[in-house]
Structure formats: structure tokens, C-alpha cells
């Protein structure tokens, strides 16, 4: 006789089971990389990584370590699938319209493996919603080949000081030019828009700069449209690190503290704009 499994039974059939008391610990991080519909989810014993890419030039990664989850069980070495991030976020926030302040939604996320949908059980105040989201063929994500040994310059800043600069970026400029140097200006963000050029300078001894390791003057331009989505991650974070390597590739790492004070990371990689023009100082 076939036994119909109850909602809690049959956990052995799932290759991935993850539960959270507060779904916002996941949804806030996913919003920080939500600049395209398609996301690749990669799960391992360490936790979950969600990757979003655009134009083969920019990549956003949200990391949620296994220890953030109340329960995290993975039956294989790694699990990878592609899912529609917009749909996933809509499901995770399904109770938000009617939520009273202080109420949290609990989440149980389950995945049976290749070909199966991603199943979400969401509960708030005794009401349970089940969502099944189709998964797609996993695709190779870009490897920016960014390793610490090739890092030329690194700056760690309090996010507060960078937030205003990024919020007021002149979007009529096609590029954002980032200058990092042991000489003045130590750290400069520049735009070249319709109004003229705008430079935002941070001295290396500013109270907002926690660490300043610049050995070489580097001046790189990045398409502003590619970096704009990172503003969401910046808004959530308390600290940000900017690193450039010998090719001018940019790595932005955002330290985000969730409601329970736990730390998670979001990372953006961006390749420099190929057109090398005159650099205005």
C-alpha cells in the first residue's frame, strides 16, 4: 500500500531542507541582488549562495551561511538550480501586506533534486501557504577569477559615508570612475554627466575609512548602469570593502547585519569599461 507522506514526513526524499524562523533573514539579502529575474541557487554544507548576473560584466552574490538557518540539511555535496528570483521574492513576502508589526513569517524551503520544483512552506500566525516554484537547468555562472593575491588596492569603509555618494550619483554619466591612490586624492568617485564632472573625495585618514591599503594609483571606469543595483546592498550594509585587482576588476563586499545581529555577506564583481579614454582629474 502506498503511504501518502504527511507534510513533515519524507524529509529523507529532499536533497535540501532549510528552515528559518524569520523569512526576512533570507528575503532582505535576496533583494540586495535582485537586478534580474533569473538567479542561480547553489547550496552546499556551508550554506546557500544566490547569484545574479547581467551583460556578462557584473555579478551579484548573496551568501546565507548554514548557521543562519534553524535547520539546514543537505544530502548531496552540492545542489544547484536556476529559479525566477522575482517569483521567489513574491512568495517569500506573501504575508507582508497583512503583517502586523512584530509578526514574523517562518519558512521551510525544500528541494527534491533535479527536475523538481522548489517548495516553500510559509507560516504566520497559524496560516500556512505552500508555494512550488519551477526550477530550471543550472547554468555555469561567470568566474571573475578574482583572487586575493592579485588584489592591488583595498579600502574598507563605513557604508554610511558611501550611501549618500551613491544615492546622489549623476545618472546622466555613462561611467563611474573610481580612483584609489596612495597620493591625494586617496579615494575618488567621479562622474561625467550632462551638468559637468563631479568628484567625491575621501581622504585616507577619514574617520569613515576603516582600512586603507593602496600601493599603486589605479583609475578605472565602470558602466554606471551595471553598478547601480549594488546600491540596494549598500543600503542594507554597515561596512563595505572595495578591492581592485591588476586587471582593474572591481570587487565590492558588503557586510550586512540581520535583525538578529547575525552577519551575512553580499558581493558584487564588475569588470572595467573597455573604452580607455582620457582620465580627468
Amino acid at each position: 500500500m502506498l503511504q501518502t507522506p504527511g507534510p513533515d514526513a519524507g524529509n529523507d526524499r529532499f536533497v535540501l531542507v532549510a528552515t528559518l524562523d524569520n523569512v526576512r533573514h533570507l528575503s532582505n539579502l535576496l533583494k540586495a541582488v535582485h537586478f534580474r529575474d533569473q538567479a542561480t541557487v547553489f547550496a552546499s554544507a556551508n550554506g546557500i549562495r544566490v547569484t545574479v548576473e547581467a551583460a556578462k560584466s557584473v555579478q551579484g552574490n548573496a551568501f546565507i551561511q548554514a548557521c543562519i538557518f534553524q535547520e539546514f540539511r543537505i544530502e548531496e555535496d552540492s545542489v544547484m538550480f536556476v529559479v525566477n528570483l522575482t517569483v521567489l521574492l513574491d512568495c517569500l513576502s506573501i504575508f507582508s501586506a497583512s503583517s502586523l508589526p512584530g509578526m514574523t513569517t517562518a519558512l521551510k524551503m525544500c528541494y527534491r533534486g533535479y527536475g523538481y520544483p522548489l517548495t516553500l512552506f510559509l507560516e504566520e500566525s497559524g496560516v500556512v501557504t505552500v508555494c512550488k516554484i519551477q526550477t530550471q537547468e543550472p547554468e555555469e555562472t561567470l568566474d571573475f577569477d578574482f583572487c586575493s593575491t592579485n588584489v592591488v588596492n583595498k579600502i574598507i569603509l563605513q557604508s554610511e559615508s558611501l550611501r549618500e555618494a551613491f544615492a546622489e550619483l549623476d545618472m546622466s554619466s555613462e561611467v563611474l570612475q573610481i580612483t584609489m591612490s596612495p597620493e591625494k586624492p586617496n579615494f575618488r568617485l567621479s562622474t561625467f554627466g550632462n551638468a559637468g564632472s563631479i568628484h567625491c573625495d575621501y581622504p585616507k585618514d577619514s574617520d569613515m575609512i576603516e582600512a586603507f591599503h593602496c600601493n599603486q594609483t589605479q583609475c578605472n571606469r565602470y558602466k554606471i548602469s551595471l553598478l547601480k543595483p549594488s546600491i540596494k546592498a549598500l543600503a542594507l550594509s554597515c561596512k563595505v570593502s572595495l578591492r581592485t585587482d591588476n586587471r582593474g576588476f572591481l570587487s565590492l563586499q558588503y557586510m550586512i547585519r540581520n535583525e538578529d545581529g547575525q552577519i551575512c555577506f553580499v558581493e558584487y564583481y564588475c569588470c572595467p569599461d573597455e573604452e580607455v579614454g582620457e582620465f580627468e582629474t
Binding site: A195, G196, S197, I198, Y202, D207, M208
Partner: protein
């Protein structure tokens, strides 16, 4: 030309520019001996607004520029007053959020770029952060409204809050308002086209007595109709006290001026 503004005064300039941006698309700057004039005019040239910041408003006020053209012909280099026209959007970008300006900006420096075709505005903020805006500017003539204060028989001086409280009773989409001064009363009415069926329109009228005004000098009964949008943003929403209105007959410009107690003057005029 070098100007330095410190502390809360930076956001005052920001608020003035925000007010002007609701009227015109270009901002006219002129560094006069008696202060920095920041002006604009709307596209139909029917509304003009000007803010004048006296030298005392600045930490450093050096308005002159050396005219290189006069050096070329061998004569003594003439010191002229700085004057330019700049896109409103460009200068608004410097003063995007007056609230943030108050919290973070310690000093604002303005200077003319070496090529004379750029205005450099530098904001020195907390934590050593410096923001430099190099804005393209154009030459311009002095922007002035044509009116004669002496021809105005009526003078009203009032706190802007009274006018804001009056205007709030009108429909939000109201375009034109009629102001009538008759005897010892001031009437504000929404303007209705003459051939409109009175049964199909709502008329709102606010009546003010001389007691509500700080100065009430009415020699001629006058009724004028003007565009509320232009007046509202500069005049009625102004955060500066002591609004002075000088009114003439219809067709002639009415002039509204704000005065500040410590000698700094902002003034707006609408025609």
C-alpha cells in the same frame, strides 16, 4: 570670483535654488557689490524670482573677476562682476537635499574655473569628505524684471504662514487666484472664467482684515489675477518672514518681497 559659505547657510542657498527651480529652467547668477543675486524667469517671461544674499551671509565674498579681454589690448585689466547662466538641473544636483546639506556640509566654496567656462562648487563635508562639482556655464546679460516700486499704490506686509493657511482652502489643482483689495478688506478667490455657468462651479473666497497684516496700506481698490503656481512656491511657501506685497492695477507686475531681520534679503517678484 571666490565665495565661501559656512554651516547652515549652505542649505539656505539650497532651499532658494529649489524654490527657483519650480519656476525656471535656467539659473542666473550675478555677484554684485551688494551681494550674490540668484535669479530665474519662467519660459513665458511672466514670473521672475530673485534671491539676493548680502556679503554678510558669506564667510568670504570676493565678487570680481579679471577680464582677460581687456588685458589683451594693453589697457589696465578691468575688474568686472561675475555673471553667468547655468542649467537649473545642474545646480540643483549640487544642492539635492537641503536636509542632508544641513547635517553633513560644513563649508561651500564657489569659484570660477580657469577657462572661465566652468563654475566650481566644492562642498566640504563631515569626515573630511569633499564633493567637487565642475559645472558648465554660459555668459549672460543681467536678468531683471521691469517695474517701478513708486507706481504701486498698495502695500501689504504679512507673515507667509497666513498666506499658506489661506491657500490651503483652495482646490489643489487651482491654477489662478484673484486677489482683490477693497476698502478695509482683502479677498482671495479662485479665478473663474467669465462665461462659466455659476451653477456648475464652486467658488471659494477668503476674506482677510487689516488686523491680519503687519502693514496694510491701500490707496486704490485693485483686483488682480495671477498664476498661483509661480507665486506659491516662491512666495507663499517661503521660509523667510515678513512678506511684503506691492500691488498695482491688472497687467502691471505685482512685487512680493521677503525680508530677513539680520540684513540678509531674499526677494521674489512675479509679474
Amino acid at each position: 570670483m571666490r565665495l565661501v559659505v559656512t554651516g547652515g547657510n549652505v542649505s539656505v542657498i539650497g532651499r532658494a535654488i529649489h524654490a527657483l527651480s519650480r519656476i525656471g529652467e535656467d539659473c542666473y547668477l550675478e555677484a554684485l557689490d551688494d551681494g550674490l543675486a540668484v535669479r530665474t524667469v519662467n519660459s513665458s517671461r511672466s514670473a521672475f524670482a530673485s534671491f539676493l544674499f548680502a556679503p554678510a551671509f558669506f564667510q568670504k565674498y570676493d565678487p570680481g573677476i579679471l577680464n582677460p579681454a581687456s588685458e589683451a589690448d594693453g589697457s589696465q585689466s578691468q575688474k568686472e562682476n561675475f555673471r553667468c547662466k547655468i542649467g537649473m538641473k545642474s545646480v540643483l544636483g549640487v544642492f539635492k537635499s537641503p536636509v542632508t546639506l544641513e547635517k553633513t556640509v560644513e563649508k561651500c566654496k564657489m569659484a570660477l574655473g580657469r577657462g572661465m567656462d566652468q563654475l566650481i562648487i566644492q562642498l566640504l563635508c563631515k569626515f573630511g569628505i569633499t564633493k567637487t562639482h565642475n559645472l558648465a556655464i554660459q555668459d549672460s546679460e543681467t536678468l531683471q524684471a521691469v517695474y517701478d516700486k513708486e507706481l504701486c499704490p498698495n502695500t501689504l506686509r504679512v507673515q507667509p504662514k497666513l498666506l499658506t493657511d489661506t491657500v490651503v482652502h483652495f482646490p489643489t489643482n487651482l491654477e489662478e487666484v484673484t486677489l482683490e483689495v477693497k476698502g478695509r478688506r482683502v479677498y482671495f478667490r479662485n479665478y473663474i472664467e467669465p462665461d462659466t455657468d455659476p451653477r456648475k462651479t464652486m467658488q471659494t473666497e477668503m476674506v482677510l482684515t487689516p488686523m491680519e497684516f503687519d502693514e496694510f496700506s491701500v490707496k486704490d481698490q485693485t483686483e488682480i489675477t495671477f498664476c498661483l503656481k509661480g507665486a506659491e512656491v516662491t512666495v507663499f511657501r517661503g521660509q523667510f518672514p515678513n512678506l511684503l506685497g506691492l500691488l498695482q492695477k491688472p497687467g502691471s507686475p505685482g512685487r512680493f518681497t521677503h525680508g530677513l531681520p539680520s540684513g540678509k534679503r531674499g526677494c521674489g517678484a512675479s509679474a
